[in-house]
Symmetry: C2
Subunit: 441 residues, 2 copies
């Protein structure tokens, strides 16, 4: 199968940032065969499918480096309530999160992400096998992490049970083309040093199972570490041996310069949850300092309970604005760097930069078509600025993952969208009743 997209504006996001005002891409089976400049593909075998994209933009699919897909079922619940986590979410999770709810929540998340141009996502939650199966069916690429925590999560009563779930996840997706199993200790304060050490051992014994974790996310975490272990979170995780190369650390707000250096030396990668951190009033992660220290930093939506939406377009402008506010200049974290974080650097965060994140011959064909036809996107002096500051999720027209179309003309092909919405709405009705009971008690 050979597909050719032509009459396209192209951002390759390759190391040279090559871009073509008029260009083409050819795809053979699940791989990019070639990318080039010019109105038509040069001589080559005839394509099975030839698409004139009418001057729209083709760029790599976006990478969401941290999230909790199933939490779409909580989107917008208790928005302005400071203690909503303990008041609503944890009780609801304990009592009502089943494999079926995870499957339903994750399915809506997959629809939303694909419609918004996300082709690869990292996830950590409970009953994570369900999430892997949803991504498989959706046709997405993903790093799926079984969460381990000590606060009576819905799917494991003990850490032994939790590790068994990780084994199941690893075994089910072993050798899968698009889905990578991962182990996800929740955070320093909810796993503790001994379990973190056990996770480090597990990761050593299972080198293909990536580690994901929340780290240095908030003041209360600093306080917990100081009180219980007389140190800061980064040191606690490091002592446990969990700052392993390729471990994905989400948030990383509360970092001192020496800690940034430590994370860089250990080969850690970082998921930056710009909107979710700001919405919680927690602050702005030191993204430029981390990247200057050599850390790969990707963009991330977090769960819909925290960040509300699951497309990366909604993260790009905030990530740039927050960095400009932190640095006091419009020059901080410019648009091209933001698009890099949304694509190839995000892929690097997930250890998938050899597979996806740029349009280069031999890579998997993960790409999106973005309309440039709106008033918002007119004129275009700077295509990166147009993407970061003007584009929105609905500008995504078509999405290809691993050589297969999963979205065409703004409609998802692999999951029934109306049913995905209906099922979540039904769960939300039950949860609304339960929150009313909580409020009444």
């Amino acid at each position: 199968m050979r597909t050719c997209l032509h009459n396209a504006r192209i951002l390759t996001m390759n190391p040279a940032f090559d871009e073509f005002v008029t260009g083409w891409v050819t795809i053979e089976d699940n791989r990019i065969a070639a990318v080039g400049e010019g109105p038509i593909t040069p001589d080559g075998p005839p394509a099975d499918e030839t698409i004139d994209v009418n001057g729209d933009l083709i760029l790599p699919g976006m990478i969401n480096t941290h999230g909790h897909m199933a939490m779409t079922v909580f989107r917008g619940l208790g928005e302005d309530v400071d203690d909503r986590l303990f008041r609503y979410i944890l009780p609801l999770e304990r009592g009502a999160i089943t494999p079926e709810v995870v499957r339903i929540g994750a399915r809506l998340a997959a629809v939303e992400m694909m419609l918004g141009g996300v082709t690869t996502t990292a996830d950590m939650y409970y009953f994570e096998q369900q999430v892997g199966r949803v991504l498989d069916k959706a046709g997405m690429r993903g790093v799926v992490g079984q969460t381990l925590a000590d606060y009576e999560p819905p799917d494991h009563g003990s850490f032994d049970q939790g590790f068994a779930l990780v084994d199941d996840l690893r075994d089910e997706f072993s050798g899968h083309d698009r889905i990578t199993a991962s182990i996800a200790p929740h955070a320093p304060y909810s796993t503790g040093p001994q379990i973190m050490a056990r996770v480090a051992e597990y990761a050593h014994d299972n080198p293909h199972v990536r580690v994901q974790m929340h780290l240095a996310e908030m003041k209360s975490e600093l306080e917990w570490c100081a009180t219980h272990h007389n140190c800061r979170p980064v040191e606690l995780v490091d002592r446990a041996g969990l700052l392993r190369p390729g471990a994905i650390m989400a948030h990383c707000l509360e970092l001192e310069p020496g800690e940034i250096a430590t994370l860089s030396e250990r080969g850690i990668t970082v998921a930056h949850n710009a909107r979710s951190n700001a919405k919680a009033g927690r602050g702005i992660a030191p993204v430029e300092a981390m990247r200057n220290a050599g850390l790969a930093v990707g963009l991330a939506t977090d769960g819909a309970m925290s960040g509300n939406t699951l497309d990366i377009f909604a993260q790009m402008a905030p990530a740039s604005m927050f960095a400009k506010l932190l640095g006091g200049s419009r020059k901080c974290l410019p648009a091209r760097q933001i698009v890099k974080m949304a694509t190839i650097e995000g892929a690097k965060v997930l250890g998938l930069d050899g597979v996806t994140g740029s349009l280069e011959a031999g890579k998997c064909a993960d790409l999106i078509r973005v309309s440039l036809q709106s008033p918002r996107m007119t004129p275009i002096y700077d295509i990166y600025a147009a993407l970061v500051f003007s584009a929105i999720a609905s500008d995504v027209r078509d999405v290809m993952i691993d050589g297969k179309w999963v979205v065409r003309n703004g409609a998802v092909l692999t999951i029934e969208q109306a049913k995905a919405r209906r099922d979540v709405a039904q769960i939300a009705q039950q949860f609304s009743q339960k929150t009313r009971q909580i409020d009444a008690d």
Copy 2:
């Protein structure tokens, strides 16, 4: 002419924040006749047009309290260049801004705003009569301000000429239903105390001509006031008599608590340009402190050169997130207050809260229909949070201003969109050549 919209979810934004999960609105000529709860309109005269909105949301049209419509021609130019104003924009404005360019730029802005649900906008620029005419033709409501400045602007070589342009604007739109003339001294540092005093006198003599101005926008403004007048901007403007009731002050970042009290005492209103201020790395305006002091604060896009997009959806989440970052809590500036600022409070900022900004019988029929059918908007525990954190401009389906449809099913009816885009793209090509010359020189 009588129109009835039913099967609607409704946010009235009236003083009681009445909302109906299932409701209806009737419109007679250019006014809202009634708003109510229930599946169908109660007994009344038969409607000429009855529309089942299929459960979509009907809310007041949004108010953009500050902008420069014509500057769409500069959107994305020199994004990451610190001295872009002096390097590119001012030379281009002096050499290339003509009435025709203002008309073309403003026309694209009108299309973008209407598609994004803005029904009323405030504007300040040069050749402002052109902007008023574009708004008139578009069918929008607007407060159009002729800018006065001392930096050789394109349309007046002296302040006498500038005031003559204000006269022309006032005379042309005297008695217009939707367009209000305004006088817009650019900023303290670009008009100076004597001209500000003359503007105050003009405003006194022409009580229907509103004052708009940039105030307390940046550190360099503080320095200029300190150096030249040994005071801060608010004091300088107050001394000139320009802190008049109803004067609209844009930005208001650099305020001390006493100055907030002064602005409140003087009856000033404030346009909050969340994205544009952040993108410039200037900081976060003290919105909660201003509102707590009784000031009406509206949301604003600023010009497309500064804020890139001209819809209020793109301002709502940032405005809330910035306030939460400033206050260190997710409780700061909650979603309902943000929607208030986007609608009725924005109308108050422009002195139009008796006319627009809420769905109440007798007010002009300025309303928008927003689709709730996307995965992003599922589920809805909190309609305000869904609007602020999940909705995007493309969710706007229909827009009515002054009882007339200006957008139906996502298409503008009053201006030819393709031509509006083409004309601006053509100007941008010329400007690109000129910026290359500037870079080469």
